[in-house]
């Protein structure tokens, strides 16, 4: 196991800048998730760690060693490819055992080891088939098995569970989580599934257009999203964001928007500064909203848009005129009865404020 470090890495493809400039450090034994929308440079970053792409500038370090120009085979890594990259002419056993073959392991030994890993991933009875003769999910698990069959310094995963059905995905996720706890592997894991990132990562790097917007433990990302982009990306469903007009009066912050009724908010220096622009964004997580009582002071109202019962919880969405939607996640087994107009309330301690650039304004109890 080893640490990984990016020092001012940039990567361009011709005139197109895929990654403008990123730096980060991953400690030995950390499980990092790169989270971001399609095309934000996750795969590109991963490939630079693997040595399949040379950075346009900057250095890549693995275990304190500069590997920027080192061949992939000398980096002590293993990788699961987004398109699996199984060798079409080898059967599943040979595919999984290939890394052991190039390490000079003899055939019976390497097939035994391949079978062990395959059994854990429930593909042990497919060993004699060709990749074209198994399903997409089975191919993905084969590719995962091939990466786990030998010990590596760093494990790189490019959306390794994207093609599994919901149940298998949960199982594989649990398996990876167990593996991480068991052997303390250093891993960089690309996903655009925020739930996967939350479940697996010791820290999440949220990426947008080739930049890391926030790099923090999952709970921090969830509680204190650095920007509206992060807030909108993490959580299921993501945080409700309501653009509001901000003004200061009587020593407090007043926020106004259609259908919004909000008690004045205590001023801090940061809030006062951000309020100068007159615009802010109010963020409230769906799980912090509830059906309003008449006595509630912080209420958002609108027409009922959708009412989805998901078993242990319900998603109630309202529409505020043409000012966007707000979704509440209400934990109840009962069917929620709402009329055509809905009122949702929340506590002030659960709101997050963002300034007009989209950056989070620190709350009063911070620092």
């Amino acid at each position: 196991m080893a640490s990984v470090e990016f020092q001012n890495i940039s990567k361009s493809f011709g005139a197109f800048v895929a990654v403008p400039d990123i730096s980060f450090q991953i400690a030995d034994g950390e499980f990092i998730c790169l989270l971001g929308p399609s095309g934000c440079g996750k795969t590109t970053s991963l490939r630079m760690i693997a040595g399949l792409e040379t950075p346009s500038s900057g250095r890549v370090m693995i275990g304190g060693r500069d590997v920027t120009y080192l061949h992939p085979k000398d980096r002590g890594i293993s990788m699961v490819f987004q398109d699996y990259a199984l060798y079409p002419h080898m059967n599943i056993a040979d595919n999984i055992a290939y890394p052991l073959k190039v390490r000079g392991e003899q055939e019976t030994k390497r097939h035994a080891r391949a079978k062990e890993v395959a059994d854990v991933l429930k593909i042990g009875d497919l060993m004699k088939r060709l990749p074209s003769q198994i399903s997409g999910g089975q191919q993905q698990r084969t590719s995962l098995a091939r990466a786990l069959v030998y010990p590596s310094e760093v494990y790189l995963f490019d959306e390794p569970l994207s093609n599994l059905d919901a149940k298998l995905r949960l199982e594989a996720r649990g398996f990876l989580n167990h593996l991480q706890r068991d052997m303390g592997m250093t891993a960089v894991y690309v996903t655009h599934d925020q739930a996967e990132a939350m479940a697996l990562a010791t820290r999440i790097a949220v990426m947008d257009k080739g930049r890391i917007v926030q790099f923090a433990p999952p709970i921090e990302i969830y509680r204190r999203p650095a920007t509206t982009f992060v807030a909108n990306f993490v959580g299921n469903p993501p945080m409700n964001l309501v653009p509001v007009e901000a003004s200061i009066g009587e020593g407090a912050l007043h926020l106004r928007a259609d259908g919004l009724q909000l008690a004045p908010i205590a001023l801090t220096d940061a809030i006062a500064k951000a309020a100068k622009s007159g615009r802010m964004t109010l963020g409230v997580r769906p799980e912090h909203l509830r059906i309003a009582e008449p006595s509630d002071r912080n209420v958002v109202s609108g027409d009922l848009f959708a009412n989805e019962n998901m078993g242990p919880e319900s998603l109630v969405t309202l529409e505020r005129g043409d000012n966007g939607r707000v979704t509440a996640r209400i934990f109840t087994d009962d069917e929620i009865k709402v009329g055509t107009s809905v009122h949702l309330s929340f506590d002030q301690k659960h709101i997050t404020l963002f300034d007009d650039t989209g950056a989070r304004i620190p709350a009063a109890d911070e620092r």
Binding site: A50, G51, L52, H71, P72, K73, I77, S78, M79, F81, D83, A85, Y87, P88, H89, Y98, P99, K101, V102, R103, S132, S143, R146, Y150, L156
Partner: protein, 277 residues
């Protein structure tokens, strides 16, 4: 309704008649090709041999020059095929995978020149070059000239083939610890093989049937390939001895047919898409 059905019947009959006629026109020479060798009195006209005889073959087998020529053809074709196959694979792989600027142009220019090199227009310069190299009247001369002529097209076909194969195959091999050479032999080569097979068969057929190049570059009878030796079955006056010519032609075509069958059985012919699904 009746009228319409009749109409369709007439149309089908006409179509079938036309198709039969066309088929016959193409099939007749083939029928001749398979009958004449077994007919002691074969003429250019089509006739069913009676009796079936192998006497034509017996005479042909006694012609040592013609028999040696078959072996020569084999040497030259095999040499050319190995050279073209190996060189085209390596070159096409490099052209497909490495970020050489202007690599597309290189292939097109070579392709353009290749039609000149193996064409008759370039015979004089080719002769002079081979002569200067001291290779006149050697198998090597024939092999090299064919390789030069066929390589660009072979490279072109193979490069397209390799372009269609995802790079991530080799990449995953290298990440797993393979050197570029190991990745090539373990992963890339087996996947490219169907493409190589197509190129090899194509090159073999090309060399096997070629007359002009060996005829010009070779002097001695004991090096001439079958395509040249076939003229030993013409009389002094220049008229073909049909019986022997037919028998020899059949023998001459067998290796090509055998190669086709072998390849079809072992690999199956596929032209595009490296991944067998």
């Amino acid at each position: 309704m009746q009228k319409k059905a009749q109409n369709i019947f007439v149309r089908r009959t006409v179509f079938a008649a036309a198709a039969t006629f066309l088929g016959t026109v193409f099939a007749l020479p083939l029928v001749w090709f398979f009958f004449a060798p077994f007919n002691a009195r074969a003429e250019l006209g089509l006739a069913i041999p009676s009796p079936f005889t192998l006497s034509n073959f017996a005479t042909v087998f006694q012609n040592t020059f013609a028999m040696q020529a078959l072996l020569n053809s084999l040497i030259q074709a095999a040499g050319g095929v190995v050279l073209v196959g190996a060189a085209a694979t390596l070159a096409a792989y490099a052209l497909s995978r490495s970020p050489i600027p202007g690599k597309g142009a290189v292939t097109y220019i070579l392709l353009l020149f290749s039609s000149v090199v193996s064409g008759s227009a370039a015979m004089v310069p080719i002769f002079l070059i081979i002569s200067a190299a001291g290779l006149i009247d050697t198998h090597l001369a024939v092999i090299l000239v064919f390789a030069g002529g066929l390589l660009p097209t072979a490279m072109f076909i193979l490069r397209d083939f390799i372009d269609a194969i995802p790079r991530s195959y080799e990449e995953s091999a290298m990440v797993a610890g393979a050197s570029p050479l190991q990745a090539f032999f373990d992963v890339a080569l087996p996947v490219i093989r169907p493409g190589i097979v197509v190129v090899v068969v194509w090159a073999f057929v090309n060399i096997w049937g070629s007359f002009l190049i060996p005829f010009i570059l070779l002097r001695s009878d004991k090096l001439m390939p079958a395509s040249v030796a076939i003229y030993s079955f013409y009389s002094e006056a220049g008229t073909p001895i049909v019986t022997l010519l037919a028998a020899y032609s059949l023998i001459y075509s067998l290796p090509v047919i055998a190669l086709y069958l072998l390849v079809n059985w072992k690999f199956g012919f596929r032209f595009f898409g490296g991944i067998k699904s």
